[in-house]
Amino acid sequence: MDKNIYEPIRCEVKEVITESPTIKTVVLKPEREFSFLAGQFASLTVPGVGEAPFTPSSSPYDKEKLEFTVMKTGRVTDAIHNLKSGDIVGVRGPYGKPYPLDRYKGKEVLLVGGGVGLAPIRALFLALLETITNYKRIVFCCGARTPEDYIYKGLILDQWQKLCEKHPLCFRITVDKKDEKWKYGEGVVTKTLDGLDVDIKNSVAVVCGPPIMMKFTTLKLLEIGYKEDQIYLSMERKMYCAVGQCRHCLIGDLFVCKDGPVFTYDQIKDKPNIWA
């Protein structure tokens, strides 16, 4: 008999990091190796509570641990927020199509992440760093509602900034509404795309964030000259099986679990309610 496709790998919770008032990162140690490529997702089971799909936020190159950054929005995510070190959870996957890094070679890669949408972008960014010579430059646009809501502050505002000195890399950082201590930009994340010094013809844009942010970022990217097939979106839908059977995650005729979760805008633009 083949391995049971619904059976998760047991993982021990090593640490739970509070990123913001509504977002936490759980650091897991899987019982056996769990490999994934940036952009692929996994189903995370809280035993006895439920299961939900998340894209890991840790580096695909890190074989020791697996991290998920999760916003508290419902029953399963509430339970994830209540996890403590030593608890056991389940992970199955990886599922779906990753970011096609081969197609990003030699290009300027524009990353646009908003709120908890920075989680998959972080895994992608860490993967790009490993192969940084393959890309012309990385421009990383980050947004959140307020400074308090910013996740990965220690990385984005400090550790990763230092990388800009030795790599072709820059950050454009904003919050919707700043406070007195904030020394970066103010305004919604699309504002970071104003005056972008990128050779758009030779660039790809990767966007992840709440639906409204993805919608307006996509529209803005189109406006400044990105083509529909140069815009990569990470889509989200209700999901159970994650393997193309339960049919909950359909966007029109496309499965988020199998055909996605990464889609180019031209793949999904004619599908119904894509920004729901």
Partner: protein
């Protein structure tokens, strides 16, 4: 395909003998409708041959309404299902594609399917809701079964569809090669039923339905057929459909032992696609109704190269809102044509 002939009397005693050692389900009549029941060895009740589809879709026995999948079920008994209509044999092809023939195999389904013998029947007395001919399916199966049974005068023609079917017959000496004449005569009987189904569906037009429904997402379009507003979102159509496979997974275990239970779901339910934050990409009844039919006649064609509707008509016969899907589709396609 090899076709055998056996007298009805010999067939009856053959099945009776089989029922002593195997678990055989067959159609029996109850208040004018057909339901699967286990054949009892006393043989008091009469199996109904070659009438029409059963009330229950075949999937009920292969994908139970609720079943544990983690850990997978260990004890899956062998089973013979007799009297499967051609529309359900067609539906079985979809079930196989979803649960067994993809990279990811459902453990219970795969196991159960291997242990199940499918004996199909020709339909000779279809219901008014039957419309298989409108979706390219005939009221008699041509493949996908282990054995197919056609009642023929005082005898039975048995088509052998697989090695499993051949083993079921075994070395029984009462079976003979069917003659060309017998097969031709059966063909004539079959064509009478085909004509009957075509005739009772004359007012409906589902020609080129897949092409015409491509991209037909618009909520406004699905507001046009007045009948859709009678949908009470009960899930009867999806539960009774031989190819609706949507399910959800429930976690019932603990940190020590993880358990998952698979339960049928329905895309007509308002909560079906609703995400954690409360947003649904299909907020209105019309979006959900459209999704079901687009899935049947377009998405599944993209996924598996065949329609997800087999024309069994159970969604019409069992609709609490008395919606005739054929009428709705005819109106939607006409509207598409007009735009």
């Amino acid at each position: 395909m090899e076709t055998l002939y056996i007298t009805k009397k010999d067939w009856d005693s053959f099945i009776k003998g089989k029922a002593e050692t195997s678990n055989i389900l067959a159609p029996f009549e109850d208040e004018g409708k057909l339901f699967y029941k286990k054949i009892s060895s006393d043989g008091k009740e009469e199996i109904v041959y070659n009438r029409a589809r059963t009330v229950e879709p075949l999937k009920l026995f292969l994908v139970p309404f609720k079943e544990r999948v983690v850990p997978e079920v260990q004890e899956i008994p062998e089973m013979v299902i007799m009297g499967v209509s051609a529309c359900d044999v067609q539906g079985l092809k979809i079930l196989d594609r979803v649960f067994m023939e993809d990279e990811y195999k459902d453990p219970n389904y795969t196991n159960r399917r291997e242990k199940t013998v499918i004996i199909s029947f020709d339909c000779l007395a279809p219901y008014p809701s039957c419309f298989c001919e409108l979706v390219g399916v005939h009221p008699y199966p041509e493949d996908g079964f282990d054995l197919n049974v056609s009642i023929f005068e005082d005898g039975v023609l048995v088509d052998i569809g697989s090695q499993k079917g051949r083993s079921f017959i075994g070395e029984d000496q009462k079976f003979f090669q069917a003659s060309r004449e017998q097969i031709n005569k059966r063909e004539k009987n079959r064509q009478i039923v085909v004509e009957k189904i075509k005739e009772q569906n004359r007012e409906f037009d589902l020609e080129e339905i897949t092409e015409k429904l491509k991209g037909a997402y618009q909520t406004e379009l699905w507001r046009q057929p007045k009948d859709i507003e009678n949908c009470v979102q009960c899930g009867s159509c999806t539960n009774n459909c031989p190819t609706c496979v949507c399910f959800l997974l429930e976690d019932t275990g603990s940190q020590e032992i993880m358990k998952k239970v698979k339960v049928w779901d329905s895309c007509l339910f308002p909560g079906y696609a609703r995400m954690a934050a409360g947003v649904s990409p299909r907020p209105t009844l019309y979006d959900r109704y459209a999704n079901r039919l687009l899935c049947k006649y377009w998405y599944i064609v993209e996924n598996f190269g065949m329609k997800g509707c087999t024309g069994c008509g159970r969604c019409i016969a069992g609709c609490a809102g008395k919606i005739d899907k054929r009428k709705v589709l005819t109106e939607v396609l006409r509207e598409r044509q007009r735009i």
